[in-house]
Amino acid sequence: MSSEEETIVRYDASERINHWIVAITFFLSSLSGLALFHPSLFFLTNLFGGGPWTRILHPWTGIVMVVAFVLMAKWMWRDNYLNDNDRRWLSQISDVIGNREEHLPPAGRYNAGQKILFWVLVASLALLLLSGIVMWYAYFALYFPLWVRQSAAAIHALAAFVLVEGIIVHIYASIWVKGSIHAMVGGKVTPAWARQHHPEWYREISEGKA
């Protein structure tokens, strides 16, 4: 078996579709949210048919994103528990940034960076959902006292900032680590890819196969 043939399934079709629904709704929500975040980005409302449409659509794309993310989080939850290797991985962050992957402790299905990103997403999306409901004037906002609405607005902006920063790191990592986007589109990776980036995961699935 050549190590350059794509023989390992990293994400099955439902996982891939799930991921891309989250990704698309993230873009819709973040672009419409950024449009109202700062005046310099208000032009983004044009993508959604103007200011009122942006205001109408944003909560709904956000809700689809959260629901899709919950489904995704369900199947990847356990794979994201941090272990001792991950803690060592994080302490060697300079090797990560310097592209000296061979010095790093072996990563499982997800490396420590991916795991931390996952928990950042869980936390920020939970805050965005709760604060977003409080801010939703069409249905819910007026059930809450003013100070709660004000706090929700600040929390929503802060959590959105953290989420967008997290996704910038996520997208960059997928561009940087060649083969990652391919894996999330086609689903398969080569054994060499798995061995290099996720050695512990590669060991588990090879043993499972044998």
């Binding site: 190590s3 350059e4 449009a35 109202l36 975040f37 700062h38 005046p39 310099s40 980005l41 208000f42 409302t45 103007g50 200011g51 009122p52 942006t54 205001r55 940034i97 310097g98 592209n99 992957e101 801010m135 004037y137 069409a138 906002a141 003013l146 100070w147 609405r149 004000q150 706090s151 607005a153 600040a154 902006a157 900032f161 967008v164 920063e165 910038i168 790191v169 960059y172 561009i175 940087w176 680590v177 060649k178 083969g179 080569t190 060499a192 890819w193 290099q196």
Partner: protein, 293 residues
């Protein structure tokens, strides 16, 4: 709007100055609560001038009608039965937009030009630019703006900006039969209010005073209160200001966050240029290297 297009002092969600070479005199509406008889002529005049008819509401056991400000009722007589000095007092306050010098609504609004403040101090909603998000309600320290269920736009008292622009007084002022409502320059109104306060104090209202809260930079609707030490009696906030949470939400944090997002993308790009892509190191090449050594 066109009449006032050259005297815009502030405009929502706008980072550069708006057309503002023309400076107009700051105006104010003075509401002297001690002279108000609760006749609601101001409410009727407001409806008439703005050509708005609210739905017929319900009686909840008070003269107050409608029960609250609405998208079609921009001013409202509020009736309070209180006993601040051991005996019953019937306080009647005309509620509506205070036209703050530092408007929380304008600070919070994300839609460029949906809220403007003219150099005469009037804070006006421009409904055609309103996106209906409700942030103005979140930003307002006085709970004034209301969003219409009919068109999802925010409405409130305009201080008759259309009338004031052509030298007329607001409709409510014109209708008031007791001169509890007076309109003029902010300076003149403060002087008039001070005279009234002195009179009231002479008559025994020791705590009479002017309500022109400094926390929002002063307002362009000011009150003479019999009990200025207890604005809560009239359901007025004691020290209104734009909430620090709103400041955090809308202030310097936003440009800083924008900068951080841009910087992150740039750092990513530079990192890629620095260390290059993280590719799979093929075994074949590794053995090639061994062969060569």
């Amino acid at each position: 709007m066109p009449l006032q297009s050259l005297d815009i002092a502030a405009r929502s969600a706008t980072t550069l100055p708006s057309p503002g070479i023309r400076r107009t005199e700051e105006v104010a509406k003075l509401i002297d609560i001690s002279k108000c008889i609760g006749c609601k002529a101001c409410q009727a005049a407001c409806m008439e001038w703005n050509d708005l008819r609210d739905e017929v509401g319900f009686n909840f056991g008070s003269y107050q009608n409608p029960a609250d400000l609405t998208p079609a009722s921009w001013t409202l007589m509020r009736f309070y039965e209180v006993e601040p000095a051991g005996h019953l007092e019937w306080l009647i306050r005309k509620d509506g937009c205070m036209h703050c010098a530092e408007p929380g609504c304008l600070e919070a609004c994300p839609s460029p030009g949906a809220i403007v403040k003219y150099s005469n101090g009037i804070v006006d909603f421009v409904e055609e630019n309103c996106i209906g998000c409700g942030y103005c309600i979140t930003g307002c320290p006085f709970n004034i703006p209301r969003i219409s269920k009919q068109d999802d736009k925010a409405y409130k008292c305009t201080l008759c900006s259309d009338r004031v622009a052509v030298g007329l007084e607001p409709a409510c002022i014109k209708a008031c039969p007791t001169q509890a409502l007076v309109f003029g320059s902010k300076e003149a109104m403060r002087e008039h209010a001070a005279d009234r306060v002195a009179e009231l104090q002479e008559r025994g209202f020791k705590n009479a005073g002017i309500y022109d809260p400094a926390g929002v930079g002063g307002t362009h609707v000011i009150y003479v209160l019999q009990h200025a030490d207890q604005p809560e009696l009239y359901e007025l906030p004691k020290d209104p200001k734009i909430s620090p949470v709103v400041k955090l939400w809308k202030g310097i944090t936003k440009p800083l966050a924008m900068l951080a997002l841009g910087a992150s993308v740039l750092v990513g790009f530079l990192h890629y240029v620095d260390v290059g892509p993280n590719e799979v190191k093929h075994e074949k090449k590794a053995s090639d290297r061994r062969d060569r050594t």
